[in-house]
Symmetry: C2
Subunit: 270 residues, 2 copies
């Protein structure tokens, strides 16, 4: 893996999408991951124009979901927009339990049925879906898919047009990780590799992710698993952190790029 992608979420609090793209371009980056709600803030036309001006590709488009008790609203519109932005993959965000009293087993079944429907729509739109298993601490609240095993199982059942993104924050703890990364690699379904770190202590379930190297995740070890699985795409920096959000976005990006170079041997725009 040679490239670095920055996910806009990493600096979203102090840089809107246009400022974010400028910062990426100044650092020689050629690919970014973006968010639909951030496009809304600056306007789709301005966002597309900025991407074209910087000759910048879109890796991940966030996101379709959360699912509601009735299924999905806005899915087709979001898929069409992701296609207009030329996104490599579109994240599926199941959300949590739909209502008080829904059991986990019921919610899982519901989420899997919605994903199957969504995949039909995505194939029609020419867009690839990405399942990103989230940390088990987000089960119930934000996801129904909390292991790479589950994501791989789902992809096996669903067939072409859907793959997985591996985020170290969500998956580093799982002793099945080496086997499941290898399995995803054999199936040719690894769409992305999100990096950050797990801080000890972690003070908040959503907004206390660490910068690569500041936590306890064996990042070189997981990167080696990814390479062994045949993944040679970029490392994508995605850090949800109240601490990093408070800092200057350019400094955050410079720190992230330096860490990626040191830990992953990954440089800007290959």
């Amino acid at each position: 893996m040679s490239d670095v992608v920055i996910n806009h979420a990493t600096v979203r609090e102090r840089a809107d999408m246009l400022a974010f793209l400028d910062l990426c371009a100044q650092r020689g980056l050629t690919e970014v991951s973006i968010w639909g709600n951030e496009i809304d803030r600056v306007g789709e036309e301005a966002a597309l124009a900025a991407l074209a001006r910087h000759d910048m590709r879109v890796a991940g488009y966030n996101r379709i979901g959360p699912f509601t008790a009735d299924g999905l609203s806005r899915a087709e519109a979001e898929l069409a927009r992701a296609a207009r932005f030329g996104a490599d993959h579109v994240f599926v965000f199941t959300g949590g339990l739909a209502r008080r009293g829904e059991t986990l087993a019921e919610a899982r079944d519901r989420a899997e049925a919605v994903i199957a429907d969504l995949l039909d729509m995505a194939r029609a739109a020419g867009v690839t879906l990405a399942l990103e298993p989230l940390h088990p601490m987000l089960m119930g609240d934000r996801t129904m898919i909390a292991s790479l095993t589950h994501a791989n199982d789902l992809c096996d059942r669903l067939g072409a047009g859907i793959g997985v993104v591996i985020d170290v924050h969500h998956l580093w703890w799982d002793d099945r990780l080496p086997a499941e990364i290898a399995r995803a690699g054999r199936a040719g379904r690894i769409l992305g590799f999100h990096v950050n770190d797990w801080l000890v202590p972690t003070r908040h379930l959503l907004t206390d992710r660490g910068m690569m190297g500041d936590g306890v995740i064996d990042l070189p070890g997981i990167a080696a698993m990814m390479r062994a699985a045949g993944y040679n795409g970029p490392v994508e920096v995605e850090i949800f952190s109240a601490d990093w959000w408070a800092r200057d976005p350019g400094e955050v990006m410079d720190t992230a790029l330096a860490r990626c170079a040191r830990i992953f041997g990954a440089g800007r725009g290959a």
Copy 2:
């Protein structure tokens, strides 16, 4: 399952061990789970005398650990004390990574080696060890065992004298749970069933557990898995919660008992 056990941790902030035992006895409870550091606070002699006076048994003794880079200190003394208190089982608390730079794989190997040594000591002391897999969000910081699969695997390798305690807060999210509870049941190694709930949102990784019925865990569903696995021991209430710690200990216990009766059909002292 017919009995309820209260774990002292549930009310520890406003009731020392002697007050806790009084409150349990007033409510007709005949079994408790206790902590070594709380025994230290009131004195071992007073603690043993209170248990004898109330004719109360000890279910779980907390705990041996955390392990250090050098292994374990005080293990033999703790095991001997657990034996003096007649504990049904003694919790193994591995703790997290021993030092900066230790990888998860290294720490797991280290923890497993210490547990094997500890089991030899426990057998000599006539004490049963309990592995309680903790939530993956506590990996790195407080545990090296974050799935029932891992705990079952370890027990399979280690043989007699060690079993598992199933805590819903730590394990509810795992789609392997039904199969792994059944596996633990077949092996005759289920030592306890800890109940509480998962709140949405959960605001803190350690001190925001819910009272049974206030969260999203399918408690009747997991209780049915436990019964199907042949478990007919007590339900043990263990709630680490800044909110519940701030309330009157007797009220907390009354609430817990009422919820156990409603959700599990479990009553006080069989």
